[in-house]
């Protein structure tokens, strides 16, 4: 354990060390997100993820946002365990009829102001599952959606850039009001 911990202290973080182009884009995204988040939301944004019927592919990539390469928390963004602590609901999947009520209740349990981000192709309109007797449709068919992030599943970079778009929208809303 000592060696692993010592290495973490002496080596540069993975995010900065990798020179590949998508890493550079990621660093750029991270910067603009940080600025907007600090200005409008006081450094912190709490996200509650809700799987409303996904295949679990989107969850895997949302999980990846927490790894050392993307390290979402350094931006003040973090996942919370309860909708009552959340500013943002990150909803995946086509909404199955069996999950519709649970999604509604989760939405109602989230305090205002709140934003809903629909993640992935299925969350947009049901995707390959639309038309099934068991699917209610996309997320917008059940609760109001502020932003869609496309992809099947979206990559962690796409997710990050989508969350930035949300912040832009939030700041416009704040300016208008």
């Amino acid at each position: 354990m000592r060696r692993t911990l010592f290495e973490s202290l002496t080596h540069r973080p993975l995010t900065e060390a990798a020179p590949a182009p998508d890493e550079a884009a990621l660093a750029e995204l991270a910067k603009s997100f940080e600025r907007a988040a600090r200005a409008k939301l006081g450094r912190s944004l709490s996200i509650r993820q809700v799987d409303a019927g996904s295949c679990n592919g989107c969850e895997l990539e949302i999980h990846a946002l927490n790894n050392a390469f993307y390290d979402l928390e350094r931006l003040g963004l973090h996942f919370v365990a309860s909708p009552r602590h959340a500013d943002v609901l990150l909803v995946t999947g086509p909404v199955t009829k069996n999950m519709r009520e649970a999604l509604l209740r989760t939405y109602n349990a989230t305090p205002d102001p709140k934003w809903v981000v629909a993640v992935g192709a299925c969350a947009a309109d049901g995707g390959v599952f639309s038309g099934s007797y068991a699917v209610a449709g996309g997320v917008k068919d059940v609760i109001p959606v502020d932003l869609h992030i496309s992809g099947c599943p979206p990559s962690p970079t796409q997710l990050l850039s989508g969350l930035i778009a949300l912040l832009d929208r939030v700041s416009r809303k704040a300016a208008n009001s």
């Binding site: 354990m1 060696r3 692993t4 911990l5 993975l14 993820q49 809700v50 799987d51 409303a52 019927g53 996904s54 295949c55 679990n56 592919g57 989107c58 969850e59 895997l60 990539e61 949302i62 999980h63 990846a64 927490n66 790894n67 050392a68 390469f69 996942f79 365990a81 309860s82 909708p83 999947g93 086509p94 199955t96 009829k97 069996n98 999950m99 519709r100 009520e101 649970a102 999604l103 209740r105 989760t106 299925c122 995707g127 390959v128 599952f129 038309g131 099934s132 007797y133 068991a134 699917v135 099947c152 599943p153 990559s155």
Partner: protein, 501 residues
Amino acid sequence: MALLDSIPHTEVAERHRPWPRAIVGYEGWNEATSLLVHGRLTLLGLWGDAGEVHMALLDERADDIAVISYACQDGKYPGVGAKHPPAIRFERAIRDLFGLEAVGARDTRPWLDLGFWDVRHPLGKQKPAQKPAPYAFLPAEGEGLHQIPVGPVHAGIIEPGHFRFTANGEHVVRLEQRLGYVHKGIESLMDGASLEDAAKLAARTSGDSTVAYSYAFAQAAEAAMQMLPPPRALYLRALMAELERLANHFGDIGAICNDASFALMHAQCGILRERVLRAAEACFGHRLMMDVIVPGGVARDIAPEGAASVRALLAEARKRFPRLIELYDNTASLQDRTVTTGIVRTDYARQFGAGGYVGRGSGRGFDARRNLAYAPYGELKFDVPVLEAGDVNARVWIRIREVEQSLSLIEQILARLPDGAVRAAPSKAAIGEGLGIAEAFRGDMLVWLRLDGKGRVARCHLRDASWFQWPLLEVAIEGNIVADFPLCNKSFNCSYSGHDL
């Protein structure tokens, strides 16, 4: 002796491949049930069709497989679950989807139909929905018991499902699962879908096993069409399957340790997982390698620089992973949580035919890659690790050993990768039925399908490894403390979406 020799049957279906399907009557169906009860056969799957039920059986001594079919009389078939518990949830699902009743079934509560659909029996003779009766959880009696309901929305980035705990203080007396929340009606969407569309649905049955699902679906479709993909495609499929296994095992090992509050392992394993996904993207243009395996071969060849990125991944994993294993093994506080926690008895693993790390951590060594030796695994060298302890620790160690095997397999695959085409055109006019079985990271999974001769799927059934693992989790947690449930659950890492369909 072939498996079907011991089961009385009237005829053998003409176009069912690669294993036979026999039409049985009451006597044959009951004989098969009795062979399951006595442990001579293992249940591989039980599913409905228009007016009939099919049961896939495995003879583990001969690695022989067969499907038997029973034509229902008045929508009824002789129940299997009352005598052989692994069949209970299948029977409940068949009733919900097809309206076919298992005679003698003791548990007739719905399983996938939670009362929110507009129709009953969506795949059988449809009826308008009724107001559902309240769901009766199984009772637990005794002094000082209280219930803890959890879900369907869980406190984490995780799929939805409901767990009903009955506990005495900290100790779990009974856990009952209620699943079906992510039921998307995949099998009904497949009815009449083109082979391409159906393959896309199969790939989205459980995102963490998208390669394995596409693999088994392609095997089933190719068996039905009597075609073989080019050798290079077979090797590329195995490469993807092993990358998927690596990514999931790295993720799981880290997440299990994280549920024991050991975040360092989680962070380190997360780095390895991310490196696997990046190598996968460099090779096949998609981090999870979705839709790359298709009936007839693979949709795209490995990128020119792909092999180099995989070799870099192997070098990195071989350098880092042994240190993490040492860390796991030498951290007493972590061992204290995983050793003797959540034990699955070996006889249950055998009875349920549990696959993957759940089975292999409890003495059942079945691995479809070795036992069925589908191409190209028959040409590759690997061991199947088996432990007897059956606890969380054993399931971690099976994953650790499998990571080592996958690294070696990937090396062999790269060294032996044949040249040539990667895809053959599927024959649209094929009529036939096929069975495909692939070893996903969580165990063997099965795809059965029937093609209609116009390039469409007439019926498809997908059976995730989780069907035989979820029930064992209910038993594994008994007598453990509530706080150890996340640990046990993660060590199983069963699929919700793959199970709910």
